[in-house]
């Protein structure tokens, strides 16, 4: 546990909030992984992802937000309304209009300038990349207005290289979740990624590289059923599911969620190092490989799950649904069916941020793990 001590500190203490208060670059809050960090960094601002996993805040938000909105948005809205901590320091809040809730979120967020990004409905639709590229360029301009720094070729190139160094380090961490050399738990991985929401990108990468180097020499985790988590995001501190699974001796060795692996998985690959191509690569980087169910396309997502099942030696998949997020619920059966061919069982768990159903989930998990173990042996 000490290995991820630094990341724990970033996630649980106010160290980073204090640091951000002491520096003078404007802070840009982002939601989802769609607004490219590279572009915000290049324009001279500090990107901070403000999606939230706080249960209490979700409840408090019900005063001004419909109750039938998913906890991710409710929680984020609740915390944004209170404007405490990092959320009191935002110079701009970038919301990609991915789903109904995020589309309407700008109308209930007060006191902070909001920039909405439009997304294509399908990634494969003709012109989807062009729409998104123009949205990313618009974002760069908006951030530039605040920072009075243009995202130009040298700054964007440097930012792309910083992001790529981070993604490369994260791939190094993922390599330590493969069969035979599983050295980091799913919980620890999610803490690491949660730290990337807030942390300074370069320091984060340095620490991540250190962690990977340390873990390489560490002993492998004890043997246990190898599970994968996919579906709705588990945003820190709402990671009790991972805790539950791993307290039962199983390991979450892979995931395909936007709150964990998917956030740091894809490097930016530009054709050339001029401004337009850098911008295009940064834009396509957050659009094309994204498996968000807000798009009509689902095959990339199924493909990703099947690939990770193969690569990480997964024996069972947990499909995490958040109550009131119909987009993820729609795709549950498609994932189940896709996995039938490889005989990997799927457990669908529908929860929200409240902990009331913990015991019920524990019972279902126990039964599922028994099945996975019996299938394995």
């Amino acid at each position: 546990m000490s290995a991820v001590g630094y990341f724990n500190e970033i996630v649980t203490t106010d160290r980073r909030v204090r640091e951000l208060g002491e520096q003078d670059r404007p802070i840009v809050g982002t939601m989802c992984n769609f607004p490219p960090d590279a572009v915000i960094l290049a324009a001279g601002a500090v990107p901070v992802r403000v999606d939230a996993g706080d249960f209490a805040a979700a409840g408090r938000a019900e005063e001004f937000i419909p109750r039938d909105v998913c906890p991710v948005c409710k929680s984020a809205a609740g915390l944004l309304a209170e404007r405490e901590g990092i959320r009191g320091k935002l110079a701009l809040l970038v919301i990609p209009a991915v789903c109904d809730a995020k589309r309407k979120l700008p109308s209930v967020v007060n006191g902070v300038p909001v920039h909405v990004m439009q997304l294509p409905v399908s990634k494969r639709a003709p012109g989807a990349e062009h729409l998104w590229l123009s949205e990313v360029e618009r974002l760069a301009e908006r951030v530039s207005e605040i920072t009075r720094t243009k995202a130009d070729r040298p700054s964007l190139r440097a930012a792309v290289e910083r992001v790529n160094r981070r993604q490369r380090a994260f791939r190094g961490l993922l390599a330590l979740r493969r069969p035979g050399e599983t050295k980091i738990s799913g919980m620890d991985t999610s803490v690491v990624v949660a730290a990337s929401f807030l942390d300074d990108i370069d320091r984060f990468t340095d620490q991540l590289e250190r962690l990977v180097a340390e873990l390489r020499n560490a002993p492998a985790l004890p043997d246990g059923p190898r599970l994968m988590v996919t579906g709705a995001p588990m945003i820190y501190p709402n990671v009790r599911l991972l805790g539950l699974v791993e307290s039962m001796g199983a390991h979450v060795v892979a995931d395909s969620t936007c709150s964990c692996t998917d956030r740091l998985y894809n490097p930016i690959v530009p054709q050339e190092w001029n401004l337009r191509e850098l911008m295009r690569a940064s834009a396509e980087n957050t659009l094309l490989p994204t498996t968000c169910p807000c798009f009509t396309d689902i095959d990339d997502r199924l493909n990703r799950v099947l690939h990770f099942v193969e690569e990480f030696g997964v024996q069972g998949v947990i499909y995490h649904n958040l109550r009131l997020c119909t987009l993820f619920q729609f795709e549950t059966n498609a994932v189940r069916e896709a996995l039938q061919g490889s005989h990997v069982p799927v457990l669908e768990l529908q929860t929200d941020y409240s902990a009331e159903d913990t015991e019920q989930i524990r019972t279902r998990l126990q039964a599922f793990l028994e099945m996975v173990v019996s299938r394995r042996d």
Binding site: P267, V269, Q271, E272, E277, N303
Partner: protein, 331 residues
């Protein structure tokens, strides 16, 4: 990003450029051909007295063999190899050379094409190397490239086949007796060579002047303009990477070997994240590698097998370049 493949390719391209363009400067010797000499028996000068474009080199190449790339006959001092595949075809169709004499050469060309398909374009062709050098210069100047629209892409993709077959048909037609003495046969001799930029680009690189224009009649005048137009297209490769390659008829001929030849680009769809890197880095804007989600082999007919996509792909084992089923390199 790992740049090993591109680095290797640059070295190979430079080496071939030197050998093909300047070989005859170093080894001014004529070895002839391993096959019986192609000779129609008719003195060429009597058939086509004003074979304007032939006079440029006038000298013999080191080896009388043809390559499936633009190893042109207009290279100064005759060059290392005789000429390109399309040249040998159209020239001998017009001369009505006996097939017996042609078959060894054509078989040799077919084998070379079958072995490496359009890797010839990406790794060997001197004109392709010049295009890459222009792109390199543009990148150094931080100028963003132009991307062709899908419509233009498709237009060029079709035009190259039209050029190929048109030049073969013209080669046959001008040999018909009906054109004898009209001057049209002479003016349209080696139709493709007349519009290929190699004819104008190669000689100056060896310190020789090409035949820049021929205004002796309407047809030659027209062909001169078309030749200049194509030269313009070639220089547009500065802005549009490998623009000429997209409509090169020799490339079109080679592209028939891109599927079914020994070289193949394979994709493991399971490992693909659809990140679009392959599509972004492709100098020829090929979309197939990115879009295809079912076939194992994704070699496009426009693909010059430069393997930039293999190099750029961030997913391990997703893209593989194979030769005769053996793995050459993978992402």
């Amino acid at each position: 990003m790992n740049r090993k493949i591109t680095l290797t390719r640059r070295i190979v391209q430079t080496a071939f450029f030197a050998v093909l363009m300047y070989g005859a400067f170093v080894v001014p010797k004529h070895f002839g051909s391993p096959f019986p000499e192609i000779d129609s028996g008719v003195p060429r000068t009597t058939l086509y007295p004003r074979d304007r474009i032939l006079w440029v080199s006038g000298q013999e190449s080191i080896i009388d063999l043809y390559l499936p790339v633009l190893a042109c006959r207009f290279i100064a001092r005759g060059g290392t190899f005789k000429s390109c595949a399309l040249h040998v075809l159209s020239e001998n169709l017009t001369w009505k050379t006996s097939w017996k004499l042609l078959i060894p050469h054509l078989t040799f060309l077919a084998i070379l094409s079958f072995l490496f398909a359009r890797a010839w374009c990406g790794w060997v062709c001197p004109l392709g190397a010049i295009e890459d050098a222009m792109s390199w210069l543009r990148r150094k100047l931080n100028v963003a490239p132009w991307h062709l629209s899908a419509g233009w892409q498709a237009f060029l993709g079709n035009l190259r086949h039209i050029l190929l077959w048109l030049s073969l048909v013209i080669a046959v037609v001008i040999a018909l007796p009906i054109f004898g003495g009209t001057g049209v046969n002479d003016a349209l001799f080696l139709f493709y060579c007349q519009l290929c930029p190699s004819r104008l680009v190669y000689p100056p690189l060896g310190g020789v002047n090409p035949c820049w224009y021929d205004f002796s009649n309407g047809v030659t005048m027209f062909m001169s303009f078309v030749g200049w137009g194509m030269l313009g297209v070639f220089f547009l490769s500065f802005m549009v990477p490998r623009l000429w390659c997209r409509l090169c008829a020799v490339g079109a001929l080679l592209s028939y070997f891109n599927r079914g030849g020994l070289m193949s680009l394979e994709k493991r769809h399971r490992a693909c994240t659809s990140c679009g890197s392959c599509r972004r880095v492709c100098p020829i804007q090929i979309e197939r590698v990115y879009l295809d989600r079912e076939h194992r082999i994704v070699t496009d007919s426009q693909c010059t097998l430069c393997l930039r996509c293999v190099e750029a792909c961030p997913e391990k084992g997703c893209l593989t370049a194979k030769f005769a089923g053996l793995r050459l390199t993978e992402s």
